[in-house]
């Protein structure tokens, strides 16, 4: 007893030390594979470290609209003052004086309206008439300030294009959602143009919450979303979810085991292999992956190792009254060894999947299983040499039911055949092709994110174009070529496209616009003709003529010049144009795409080496399909390997097949049940099925060998323990946890019942 306590203490200390030594990675991005095609490689790089990781979307609701607007304005002011954000959008976005001055100076180089034909008398005349009309209106102070230096309206057109592109409704200086209850909207981009790590993301989220609290929100609530929130807060929520479930299921499991065995010692006994398995899995994974253990692999791996409670339960329950624990361990070891080895072999399929997260999960769970089995064989007997733990007899009705089930092979075969038939009728299992289903983010958080994105008109990055790599000029030129090719599709195949060249034209384009500007002398003659009959004085447009001369001599504006002189615009440009090593890359985001094929066709026709079309949905779906198929193939190979192993261990192919029968049957029944419930299979379901196969091997092996009432009782205890551990997971909000819980629960129940039904009927009672 003292040894057991000491062992538990030692394990707890080791766990603490290991946890402190090895950092756990929290982001989903690292769980994902590196892309296989250039398109998917680009995509995953963006997802992992792209500018998208710096975006925060917010909604404020729960108060009167005027109050929401005030809170929104003050939150935005607080965000701007914090200095942590490159860009804050809230309906009061403006250009500063210095920015206006820069834009004004470069108006003819930046404006797409700068063409030779724009400076003819015929083209100028309507502009001058419009100016006159504007001077009559209340906007006259604005027009008097700019109109005479810029009668073509190049500057005001630019300012409008840069600022007023958002189609959001503005009320009292705040953006409001067009639908649903009143909700003010904000968008902010944290500093760090090339993406953020989880810690910086967390700081940006905290800064946002601080700014909101400082705005005296009263009853108003802040809804915050974005990759940063997912990385920090959603992860915390999941951990809380898991902790709660772990505590609840741990409590239930302890209560159940205590009821069955009336022994606190057994609880300690069960804990030791579980702890050793977890520690060993963690340590080996850390060693194998350079000390980088993925948080998702760790969390799910630990959950999966919940199945190792079977080993000590089997040991304690199958001990014969006259035996010591050591003798019992020695006796059941061949079967236990075969079960653990087969289960670990089955998990090896994950190693071949090529999906980094699954490979880690496979290593973690495989190592843990073997370590737990070894612990049960050699360590437990030493810890409790004199243990006399006896399971209480099963309640009579349960025993009767199990007895009736035993040997009903035809029933079992019928159930399995029915499941197979059902699966065939349903058209086979549904494969999940949506990447977000793999995300550990709870479904409500994903829904909120999608809603805010839609309301804010933020591009839902479904279709994008990668530009470059190349020099800044080359990337911008590619962006312009793409923009030109897209013009005929605007309004039909897509609603709009956000291009880096929209904020900064390529150097060559700026040069050609300079060449299109007339000399001041030529322009003066044209103007004199254009103002005939209008009440303008002859000297009115002197500032315009001077500006033409100045513009013709300006050095073209580049990204560095824009960043220095116009931070608001540079903030718009930075997510679309970034450094990668020595060269630059760009990205163009298509909005409201209605015809993906037409966009792909344009890219194909351009055949431009610097323009790459990426259909995000198709790309991720293709990727998941590829990994799913690879995993499935490896699982089949693993199955054959396990069968071989069983044949070797049992020294008979026939017996191996008989043991494998209930396992295959349980898999089939589980798949049919999942499909019937409308669950789409993810890689995690697949991993759970592999795990399940490992469990079913235990049941099948032990029951096939010696199906006494005691064995059945022991296996029932194992199955109920597993159900208690995994059953609660099925109620989790996190899609992945839910999937694992449901799969294992269904599988364990069917594996146990099938193994019972397949067990030999006429055996002498022990």
């Amino acid at each position: 007893m003292r040894r057991l306590l000491a062992a538990l203490l030692l394990l707890a200390a080791l766990g603490g030390g290991l946890g402190a030594l090895v950092g756990v990675r929290a982001d989903l991005a690292e769980f994902l594979p590196p892309g296989r095609s250039p398109a998917s490689a680009f995509l995953f790089r963006e997802l992992r470290s792209g500018a998208a990781t710096t975006l925060l979307l917010a909604g404020i609701e729960g108060a009167a609209p005027a109050e929401l607007a005030r809170v929104s304005r003050e939150t935005a002011a607080g965000l701007r003052a914090s200095g942590r954000f490159d860009f804050v959008g809230d309906g009061t976005v403006t250009l500063g004086d210095a920015e206006q001055a820069l834009l004004f100076r470069y108006r003819y180089l930046l404006s797409p309206e700068t063409r030779p034909e724009a400076f003819t008398a015929a083209a100028l005349r309507p502009k001058l008439e419009a100016l006159l009309e504007g001077l009559r209106s209340a906007a006259s102070p604005l027009l008097a300030r700019f109109g005479f230096a810029d009668p073509t309206g190049a500057f005001l057109g630019l300012a409008r294009a840069f600022l007023a592109e958002s189609r959001l409704e503005v009320r009292d200086g705040a953006w409001f959602a067009a639908e649903g209850p009143p909700r003010a909207l904000l968008i902010a981009r944290a500093q760090g143009g090339a993406g953020l790590d989880a810690e910086a993301q967390g700081q940006a989220v905290a800064a946002f919450r601080t700014a909101f609290e400082a705005a005296n929100p009263g009853p108003a609530r802040l809804l915050l979303s974005g990759p940063g929130v997912f990385a920090s807060e959603a992860a915390t929520a999941i951990r809380a979810d898991v902790r709660l479930i772990t505590l609840a299921s741990g409590g239930l499991l302890a209560a159940f085991l205590f009821w069955r065995y009336r022994s606190l010692m057994l609880l300690g006994l069960v804990a030791v292999p579980l702890a050793v398995g977890t520690l060993a899995g963690f340590a080996v994974t850390a060693l194998a992956f350079d000390g980088k253990v993925q948080g998702i692999a760790l969390g799910f791996g630990m959950t999966m190792l919940g199945v190792t409670v079977d080993y000590p339960i089997l040991l304690a329950s199958l001990r014969r009254p006259e035996e010591g624990l050591a003798a019992a361990a020695r006796r059941i070891w061949p079967t236990l060894r075969l079960a653990a080895a087969s289960a670990a072999t089955g998990l090896a399929a994950m190693l071949g999947s090529g999906f980094p997260g699954l490979v880690q999960l496979g290593v973690f769970a495989g190592t843990g299983l073997l370590a737990a089995a070894a612990t049960t064989r050699w360590v437990l007997p030493w810890l409790l040499p004199g243990a006399r733990i006896v399971a209480r007899p099963l309640p009579r009705p349960v025993r009767a039911a199990l007895g009736a089930l035993r040997g009903r092979r035809r029933l079992a075969a019928g159930v399995v055949a029915g499941a197979g038939l059902l699966l065939a009728v349903l058209g086979g299992p549904v494969w999940q092709r949506d990447l977000s289903a793999l995300s550990p983010v709870p479904r409500e958080a994903q829904v909120l994110d999608a809603t805010l994105r839609r309301q804010l008109g933020a591009p839902d990055v479904r279709v994008l174009f990668a530009l470059g790599p190349g020099t800044e000029g080359e990337v911008l030129a590619a962006s312009e070529r793409l923009g030109e090719a897209m013009v005929p599709l605007l309004g039909t195949a897509l609603e709009g496209i956000d291009l880096p060249s929209r904020y900064l034209p390529a150097e060559a384009t700026q040069h050609s616009r300079q060449a299109a500007l007339p000399t001041p002398e030529a322009a003066e003659a044209v103007l004199r003709e254009a103002i005939t009959g209008l009440p303008f004085r002859p000297t009115a447009f002197a500032p315009f003529l001077a500006a033409l001369g100045e513009s013709r001599a300006l050095p073209p504006l580049d990204a560095a010049g824009l960043a220095a002189g116009a931070p608001t615009l540079a903030a718009r440009l930075s997510p679309l144009l970034s450094h990668r090593g020595e060269s630059m890359v760009g990205v163009a985001l298509a909005q409201d795409v209605r015809d993906t094929a037409a966009l792909a066709a344009v890219a194909q026709r351009l055949g431009d080496p610097r323009i790459l079309f990426i259909d995000v949905k198709a790309e991720t779906e293709g990727l998941l399909d590829a990994y799913g198929q690879a995993t499935l193939l490896w699982a089949l190979a693993g199955g054959v390997l396990v069968l071989g192993l069983l044949a070797l261990g049992l020294r008979s192919p026939g017996r191996a097949l008989r043991v494998a029968g209930p396992i295959g049957g349980a898999l089939l029944v589980t798949l049919a049940a999942l499909t019937l419930l409308g669950e789409a299979l993810t890689l995690f379901h697949l991993a759970s099925l592999l795990l399940l196969a490992g469990l079913a091997i235990d049941y099948s092996l032990f029951l096939a060998g010696d199906a006494t009432d005691d064995t059945m009782g022991a296996i029932l205890n194992c199955a109920v323990s597993t159900l208690l551990t995994f059953g609660l997971l099925a109620f989790c909000g996190t899609p992945v946890l839910h999937g694992i819980g449901l799969t294992v629960s269904l599988g364990v129940a069917s594996a146990f019942l099938l193994a019972c039904a397949m067990a030999p009927r006429s055996l002498p009672h022990a």
Partner: protein, 186 residues
């Protein structure tokens, strides 16, 4: 010692230790929570040969809502409430909202009219230096407002508000070499 303190006291006294006539006038404005009047306006812009006329209605609602509805030659509405400015041009379907601080020219004018109509002398002092001439037998009172902010003064140099009793009769805005004269009906 007592004599030596006097000049210091004079310095410390608020600069607007005020003309009682101005204070009385402001109290008169403060007593009217709402008002409405017709206006005619003429803009003289140095780059143009002719002045540009317009007319419409002015509406005031305490504490801070001011609306200028021009009916001719074009129909447009300029409404200020708090720090927000709304511009509407129904015939073109134009509706734009701005922050007043983005439009220095507009702000200078708005705060002058709004401050006067609200009777908010402290508010006027926040934005302008005030030169006041009380009402005479044949002459209206006159208030010359010079913007304190250099940025605003670049756009609007001087605003001259005059009237009879607690009623504004004319507003003259000088800026950028031009003058806008607004006459307000009784």
């Amino acid at each position: 010692m007592r004599w030596a303190l006097l000049p210091l006291l004079a310095l410390a006294a608020p600069a607007w230790a005020e003309d009682p006539a101005l204070a009385r006038l402001m109290q008169g404005f403060a007593a009217q929570p709402r008002s409405e009047a017709r206006f005619t306006e003429e803009k003289a812009i140095p780059e143009l040969d002719l002045p540009l006329p317009s007319q419409g209605t002015l509406r005031w609602q305490a504490p801070d809502r001011l609306e200028k509805h021009t009916t001719s030659p074009i129909d447009e509405v300029l409404r200020v409430e708090g720090g927000r400015l709304l511009y509407e041009r129904p015939d073109r379907g134009i509706r734009r909202e701005f922050g007043l601080e983005e439009q220095p020219e507009m702000r200078a004018l708005v705060e002058a009219v709004r401050g006067t109509l609200a009777g908010d002398l402290a508010g006027l002092h926040r934005y302008y230096e005030i030169g006041f001439t009380p009402e005479g037998r044949d002459a209206p009172w006159r208030m010359v407002l010079t913007p304190l902010s250099l940025r605003v003064r670049a756009a609007v140099q001087r605003i001259l508000v005059s009237g009879r009793g607690a009623q504004v009769r004319s507003i003259e805005t000088e800026g950028g070499g031009g003058v806008t004269r607004m006459q307000i009906g009784p």
